[in-house]
Symmetry: C2
Subunit: 318 residues, 2 copies
Amino acid sequence: MPGSRSDIDVLVSEVGPRDGLQSVARVMPTEVKNRWIAALAAAGVREIEVGSFVSPKLLPQMADTDQVVREAVKIDGLTVLALAPNLRGAERGIAAGVHKLNFPVSASREHSLSNIRMTPEQAIEQVRKACELCAGLPPDSRPSVEVGISTAFGCSIEGSVSEDWVMKMAQDLVDAGVTSVGFSDTAGCANPVQVKRMFTRLQREIGSRSGAAHFHNTRGQGLANVVAALETGVNTFDASQAGLGGCPYAPGATGNIVTEDLVFLLEAMGLRTGIDLERLIAARAILLEGLPGESLYGHLPNAGLPKGFAYASARRVR
Amino acid sequence: MPGSRSDIDVLVSEVGPRDGLQSVARVMPTEVKNRWIAALAAAGVREIEVGSFVSPKLLPQMADTDQVVREAVKIDGLTVLALAPNLRGAERGIAAGVHKLNFPVSASREHSLSNIRMTPEQAIEQVRKACELCAGLPPDSRPSVEVGISTAFGCSIEGSVSEDWVMKMAQDLVDAGVTSVGFSDTAGCANPVQVKRMFTRLQREIGSRSGAAHFHNTRGQGLANVVAALETGVNTFDASQAGLGGCPYAPGATGNIVTEDLVFLLEAMGLRTGIDLERLIAARAILLEGLPGESLYGHLPNAGLPKGFAYASARRVR
């Protein structure tokens, strides 16, 4: 798998081409997706979730995921991630040469049933089978398996979710063979105290298998939660260019945290992401070309870099 | 002065009626200002910056500040703050019965000259005279004097600002008699590492005189900076309802951090603000009545409270 992390401090995993595009009713043409992904990678993005191996009947936006993966894996140094909702999806991902597979597993029983029509236990069982499938492959074509537990911080249907239950699920996923388990704030209800407590506990319980933080900005708390997660040692964050996707509310109430604003936060804090903000912002034009008129979010692209801004890597040159 | 803080953990100081309204070209009618301030106080806001004793020729939006102060000081338990750009403004504030005076002092020489036509040293000298004026008053009509040093984290004209210089200014302001000195991120370029470092140093250098944090959300980093400041022990934050004011960019790029989102952050973190979010959000209607068609920002008002949300004070009941 590509993606050396020796020259960065934090991995920003771009989820726009999957999590973003699947929330938009229109379909971005495959050729534009490929150019967008290439532009993100050229800006220094090291990992991109490029699509979902879901049925095209359910999500026509993701129907070209096989092709998009085949193109993306040609990009030098890019880790290509895709979502697989089931074993059939995992097989498609493996055939396309994906580097990492990501499975939907939700802590909230109600959310799990409504989202994937499986109980959390059934979802974990499916992940176990996918891990077994991957384990049987030769090392150079074996994707790693990642899970970000959805609704880990609370659910819009169930309300609060038991932290003990979330931790048990994380352990069960590790036992099933998952490479890394993180937490997703699907409903946008996490707060920094909770984030710190839960990631600290996750790291204590599953050690090096503890994974990424996936925060939504539904209530404007996304980057505040990033600061809290950083303090526990989380070093991988999902984000979406222009906050694409999951925007059920009025302007400003985005779903995913905005990649541009996240990268600015990290670099300003002295944490190297490897990403060039100007080139990242330039990639928005391709996104807009594929989805004309789509609302793009993010503060940094409007405000620009502060006068005298220095990237973390520049400040490290001694 | 009113404003016992024994039942709250963090003081949210609402600056919309001053910092917000002075950035909007239209003038909010005095009667609406009074109702808006009353509604904010009724929602539990304990401190409000209600206006500026600047020349009405410069800022016609603030021409009624004397009347607004006289009305606001009648509200039980509310601390009424106003900005005074000079000694004449301080005299007007004292005559109107303001509880706290706030003076514009900027760390950036260029910003200071362009904003108030004074050098930082001249601005501090003026604050010294105002403190002397206040010290000569009987205790029950003596306002306290606060300063949030503008451009403390960087300047859009000068770029980076020397932290040693900012700390020297803070000490000089304390020596001049100021009750509390805080830092303002006027240009929206602060980051959490810098915030932590500078407030830690401020507290070490001026102890109990160290004051409020005033963050802008220009680059989307406002609440991330709040989290960092909280960790150093800062317990007073300025914010503006609906992010009113200072919005030079596209939608979402507000000036001040949004009071509604800040209160949600604090309460979700278990920190009591004394503010009821539903009543706070309801006060937006009055703001809009006074400024029809004005853009209102904030994520929480769109998304609403998460299912099962409990206020910090409710969670403290044992």
